[in-house]
């Protein structure tokens, strides 16, 4: 027969195990405590017996007789024993019919079986007894029976025994409830996981707001799902965008060639058409080679070409390269900050990254605006900052611009934009730098945090 699912849960088993250990501990503890209590009682009683017998040494036998009367008069539980015997061992006073077997009246404690007889009847009692021979030759014995203590111990153990089964049932119920709760959360997660696996990547596991272990686990899984969803969306988007980026130039090529074939009246016209075609194909090729380049940087042999490079001189070379182009576009290209800073890196790739940042800034800056590049020190890091006076990037898009092919809607009409920043991102990652779009009041500011110059 198949056990109910919850019985196999860890929670159920742990609850049961802990309960079993707890019950065992209760039994052991009770037994131990009682054993100790009884032993210490016995020791105390033995002490009393010894004192009583010592008090009678050298006393008048009459007083001994009185002792016995007093001792036995207050014994409602029938545990006290006392006896006075003549030289032949015949009882003279007390509630003992004979001197017990294996007993010597030598002031030592003995375990004996006493023959008790009083007004409530006769019986044999196990007891501790101690005795002495008095000056007149009579034997005086006092003892104490422990049946009352044993009975008390048995009573308590019985009570514990009676209480255990209901407690065990309560534990079982508790374990089952806890296990069912766990089970229901796991089932919940399982159902959601199935939906995610079925393609509903936007589903998230529910939290209960209790901040318990499950909530923490669920939060971790949800974060992971978020990342996966983002990656999948990116990959989907890349497919669409590659198609889009290739389709536009190819359509142009097709149109140019078609027009050329039908409409050209001279060899020069035909050449122009072919040139247009080549331009379009070059554009398509540049998309594919940029993609290959990003892939090569991302998966390439790391650090192969790393050396000491001066970021400051790279920046000035980039500025030198872009200055005339910026001037033609009516944009001021300004540079400033630290002029020399040596770090480990690949000089060519860093040049490419920085030039992509400038390229990007120039593309989005309207005529009359400015692009500023500067190297500044922040704490122990070096920061490269490129700021423009263009329209800026809306906050929700700021991370996405570094993705392959991502384009803000505003830039859709600008050619060849999709890959520049993702190339920058790939190069920054290779160097262990960080790049992000910073908060700025106006325009777009991109910050690249470069690690301190490593040895």
């Amino acid at each position: 027969m198949r056990l109910p699912e919850f019985i196999r849960t860890t929670t159920f088993r742990w609850t049961l195990t802990i309960s079993a250990v707890f019950f065992a501990a209760v039994v052991v503890l009770t037994t131990f405590v009682f054993h100790q209590v009884i032993e210490s009682n016995k020791t105390r009683i033995d002490g009393t017996l010894v004192r009583e017998i010592r008090n009678t040494v050298g006393s008048d036998p009459k007083i001994v007789f009185q002792f016995i009367q007093t001792r036995l008069s207050e014994d409602p539980r029938r545990v006290r024993l006392a006896g006075l015997f003549d030289e032949r061992g015949q009882p003279i006073a007390g509630n003992m019919r004979s001197i017990p077997e294996n007993f010597v009246p030598d002031m030592q404690m003995y375990d004996v079986i006493a023959d008790r007889e009083d007004d409530q009847g006769a019986e044999k009692q196990a007891a501790h007894a101690i005795g002495i021979v008095l000056s007149d030759g009579k034997t005086y014995v006092v003892g104490r029976n422990f049946d009352d203590l044993v009975a008390l111990q048995n009573d308590v153990l019985n009570m514990v025994g009676t209480a255990l089964p209901p407690a065990a049932i309560l534990t079982l119920i508790c374990a089952a409830v806890l296990a069912l709760r766990t089970q229901s959360r796991i089932d919940e997660i399982h159902r959601m996981a199935l939906r995610v696996m079925a393609g509903h990547l936007n589903e998230r596991l529910p939290t209960r707001g209790t901040h318990d272990d499950f909530d923490k686990l669920v939060a971790i899984i949800n974060d992971m799902l978020g990342k996966i969803e983002q990656l999948v969306t990116e990959v989907k988007g890349v497919g669409d965008d590659i198609a889009h980026d290739l389709r536009t130039p190819l359509t142009r090529v097709r149109a140019a060639l078609e027009r050329g074939r039908d409409g050209a009246t001279s060899l020069d016209d035909l050449r122009k058409a072919v040139d247009k075609g080549i331009t379009g194909i070059d554009q398509a090729l540049s998309v594919t080679s940029a993609l290959l380049r990003i892939a090569a940087i991302e998966h390439g042999q790391r650090n192969a070409a790393f050396g000491d490079v001066d970021l400051g001189s790279i920046v000035s070379a980039v500025v030198d390269l872009y200055e005339p182009a910026a001037e033609d576009m009516g944009i001021k290209l300004l540079s400033g900050g630290i002029s020399h800073w040596v770090l480990r890196g690949d000089r060519d790739l860093l040049f490419e990254a920085i030039s992509n940042l400038i390229d990007n800034a120039l593309k989005f800056t309207p005529r009359g605006g400015s692009v500023t590049i500067e190297l500044v020190r922040t704490d122990n890091n070096l920061m490269l900052r490129v700021a423009d006076t263009g329209p800026g990037i809306p906050v929700p898009e700021r991370e996405a611009v570094f993705r392959r092919f991502y384009r803000s809607d505003k830039s859709r009409n600008l050619a060849g934009m999709g890959l520049g920043l993702s190339l920058v991102a790939a190069i920054t990652r290779l160097h262990g730098f960080q790049v992000k779009v910073a908060d700025s009041l106006q325009g777009c500011t991109i910050e690249m945090i470069c690690s301190p110059a490593a040895a």
């Binding site: 380049r293 390439g300 192969a304 005339p324 182009a325 060519d348």
Partner: protein, 226 residues
């Protein structure tokens, strides 16, 4: 006599493209698919120029270069290297008069670089370069076209110097960029063209026969007016 090129390349597809392009340009091309085969052929010394893949089975591309150099063979070499494999040894090739190219590359880039390797560089001791009516004085830093002195910026001076050293030869944008800015980078936008445009307006003034010509999709060439 046609120019003989040795292509040492293990990937048949890449090799096929290179061989087809160079043959179309009138080169006589031999292909070696392994390092040891390539080395054996290179040692014959009968080639004018060779392209060597950086990573080859059996014998590594750079080892081939070192081997033939130690035997005194001076055939110029163009090393083809994957992006991740460009290290100091590869970069050092430029210093030895050889060159390297990062994959993937455009075939026009490859043939322009081979062309540059094939030309003997001008005597480095020369202090005045001359192409047609154009003179460039490396010591005085003065450029003249005929009697007209040209007011030129330092960067433009470097561009013109490179063009004049490689007159009648197609130089690509990346070659210019490497020689003048000393970074290896493929400016996908027309940045170099802007610099060249400024230089051209100074060199080819209105009414003068043009000397700086654009080569479609490739780069530029400086020629003396006919």
């Amino acid at each position: 006599m046609s120019t003989r090129v040795l292509v040492i390349e293990d990937d048949p597809e890449t090799a096929g493209e290179i061989v087809a392009e160079l043959s179309a340009q009138g080169f006589q091309v031999d292909w070696a698919a392994t390092g040891s085969d390539g080395l054996a052929r290179a040692e014959s010394g009968s080639y004018d120029v060779m392209t060597v893949d950086r990573l080859l089975p059996e014998v590594d591309g750079l080892t081939i270069v070192e081997n033939i150099r130690s035997q005194g063979i001076k055939t110029p070499v163009l090393v083809l290297s994957a992006l991740g494999e460009v290290d100091d040894r590869v970069r050092g090739l430029k210093a030895g008069g050889d060159d390297y190219l990062t994959k993937p590359f455009a075939l026009v880039e490859l043939s322009a670089r081979l062309d540059a390797l094939l030309r003997r560089p001008a005597d480095p001791r020369e202090t005045v370069l001359r192409v047609g009516p154009l003179t460039l004085d490396l010591i005085e830093r003065v450029v003249k076209r005929g009697p007209r002195e040209i007011d030129i910026l330092p960067r433009e001076f470097q561009l013109l110097e490179y063009l004049m050293r490689h007159a009648d030869q197609v130089v690509t944008r990346t070659m210019l960029f490497e020689e003048v800015w000393h970074y290896r980078f493929d400016p996908r936008t027309n940045l170099v063209d802007v610099h060249m445009g400024r230089l051209r307006r100074k060199v080819d003034a209105a009414g003068e026969a043009p000397m700086i010509h654009s080569v479609r999709g490739t780069g530029f060439v400086l020629r003396a007016p006919a």
